[in-house]
Amino acid sequence: MTRPWSPREKASDDGSRERSMVPRAQFRSYYGRPVLKPPVWKDYVAYYFFLGGLSAGSSLLAAGADQRGQPALRKGTRIAALGSIGLGSYYLIRDLGRPERFHHMLRVAKPTSPMSVGTWILTAYVPGIGIAAVSELLPRRLRATPLGRLVSALARPAGLASAALAPAVASYTAVLLSQTAVPAWHESHEELPFIFTASAAASAGGLGMMVAPPEQAAPARRFAAYGAIVELAASRRLETRLGLVGEPFLTGEAHRYLQRASTLTVAGVVGSMLLGRRSRVAAVASGAALLAGGLYERLGLLHAGTASTKDPKYVVEPQRQRIEERSAVQRQRQRELVQRIPPDPGRDEIDEGRGHRDH
């Protein structure tokens, strides 16, 4: 289909009405007003993303420490895993327009809604880490009671169950952001899950360094290092791959948050590598830097999405380009069709043969 001619479009030099393939200098919009609604989510959601990831990473570290016999690391990460998912859930509910109706999430299980999927992942995740953490918090005199013995006996399998669900807890939130019309979130769906899980690893590693003495914190240090490397690499890929839609990550408030995130993450990892084994103070400081980096990362990602809805160019230009590419393909097909009309009956067979190969 040829596009109807509009007076804004200049005819090309050869006199045809085909438009040149040079992108238009300026996109058009309705008085520069946004096409999309900005997300209504407040910073609470970023807090939840951070705390949920922290909890997921911590319960993995706790399960590992339990298997390896590192009680200080196990105790600290179990308690932190429960505390952070509890606080995260609070922020999640706080962000609702009608917080008193939070349980309406449990009316349905809907595979097309990552938020519904996440609700059920959390519902399955929390009891396990809850039992594991409570077993650490039980006072000595309660431990001897039948209930106390049951909790202690269940702690390991419960902790393992929550660790098995932890990867889902840390990664579903990326799909939650990407399954939106928000350009910066949707287009970054390849990198976001890796940023989320890697940042969760870095945060949990940081927390492990804070709660466990250095001789037990080696797994935490390694976890943090792996996480930080992947987080930085995935962020770098995101910023370079997306072109125009990557701009919100590189400008304004989101950029400041993301810069702070990478600075703190690098500082935390370098600090833990150089001094984490020797000095508890350095380990705690490095861990705190990693935690702060994780929080800033989520704030940056949240704000980048919001920024990408406020300027219509992030919506209109990529879509316009998509249309241009589609119509270019169509024009090409038409041209091929015209060329394929056989000049004499003798060539008919050859062309038919080619046509079959194409299909």
């Binding site: 096409v35 932890a166 399954q179 690893a201 879509q319």
Partner: protein
């Protein structure tokens, strides 16, 4: 019913796909903007019938449009676009030769700077009344998509597909999570300030039950907003756009009527006289759910890597 089919692409029986076994034909709006006169009766009728609160009485200072865009408190929105549109006549310089002084009066008389006159555009009829300036007016509304992003992401089931094929929020269920707001590729649905729940056009679900047409279509004095079975509207729209093109309105085009587009076709579609983005509409909207399987695959890979990293930090060299 395959899952892919439910997420994206052509879907002929949208109410049936949502589980309505016996249902009336899918209904919709065809908004023919070429005959919109910008009276905003649709906005008013909608507010009155649906008891939609006002959202302030601010002047936006850009045109006759002070609504701005669709939102929780604006379920119809009339856009006003003021455009210079060269008519394409040529100046052969004959006017100078025919003038009394053969051009000697140049610079002594008023010159047309191309400013809009005080006369209302279109006040005079006929070819001689045409100016190089036009007003476009268009009444925007929720598109009631075949594949509705808002409906797909709603975690409470508050948003649902009605037997008429429309998309409606159940206000007693919505808990204001705000996911639908970001999932709509048209920026239609929004959370109401002070109320906390998400609101949008219901295509007057209550009126449809009583066999009435929605309030906006009923109020529209020029039938720019037409309501009816979607199949019928699509046919009528096709005829209208062909008629307009035959009459020389080459820019007339349909928007949202194609069942093969990114949202599987809109339940409310439009006849536009310029590109969609000029009206504040996305030129090629796609339901975010289209990429859902792909997005979960990436998340799955990231989750596995996360688990593998956690295992490996405990396995490798204990002495470090």
């Amino acid at each position: 019913m395959s899952l892919d089919h439910s997420l994206y692409g052509r879907l002929d029986d949208v109410a049936g796909n949502a589980g309505h076994e016996e249902h009336p034909p899918r209904v919709g709006f065809f908004t023919d903007t070429s005959i919109c006169i910008g009276c905003k009766a649709c906005e008013v009728a909608c507010k009155e019938w649906n008891l939609v609160p006002d959202d302030g009485f601010e002047l936006l200072g850009m045109s006759f449009d002070n609504t701005g865009m669709l939102g929780a408190n604006s379920w119809r929105h009339v856009a006003f676009i003021e455009q210079e549109l060269p008519l394409g006549h040529q100046d052969a310089g004959l006017a100078l030769q025919q003038s009394e002084h053969g051009g000697g009066e140049l610079g002594t008389t008023g010159v047309d700077l191309g400013m809009p006159s005080f006369e209302l555009p279109g006040a005079r009829t006929g070819a001689d009344g045409r100016q190089e300036f036009r007003w476009l007016m268009a009444s925007d509304v929720c598109k009631h998509c075949t594949h509705a992003g808002c409906l797909d992401v709603c975690p409470t089931g508050a948003l649902f597909r009605t037997e008429f094929g429309t998309v409606v929020v159940q206000q007693d269920i919505c808990n204001g999570c705000g996911y639908c707001v970001s999932a709509c590729p048209y920026g239609v649905i929004d959370r109401r300030e002070g109320d906390g729940r998400a609101w949008k056009c219901t295509m007057c679900y209550d009126r449809l039950h009583d066999g009435l047409e929605p309030a906006c279509a009923k109020a529209c004095p020029t039938d720019s907003i037409q309501f009816g079975p979607l199949d019928e509207l699509r046919e009528r729209a096709q005829q209208r756009v062909e008629q307009l093109r035959a009459n020389g309105v080459a820019d007339a085009r349909l928007y949202g009527e194609d069942p093969d587009d990114g949202v599987g076709g809109d339940g409310a579609f439009f006849l536009l006289l310029d590109e969609p983005e000029v009206y504040g509409l996305p030129p090629d909207p796609v339901v975010p759910t289209r990429d859902l399987p792909r997005m979960w695959r990436y998340a799955g890979a990231a989750a596995l890597a996360f688990l593998a990293a956690a295992v490996s930090v405990f396995v490798e060299g204990r002495e470090r």
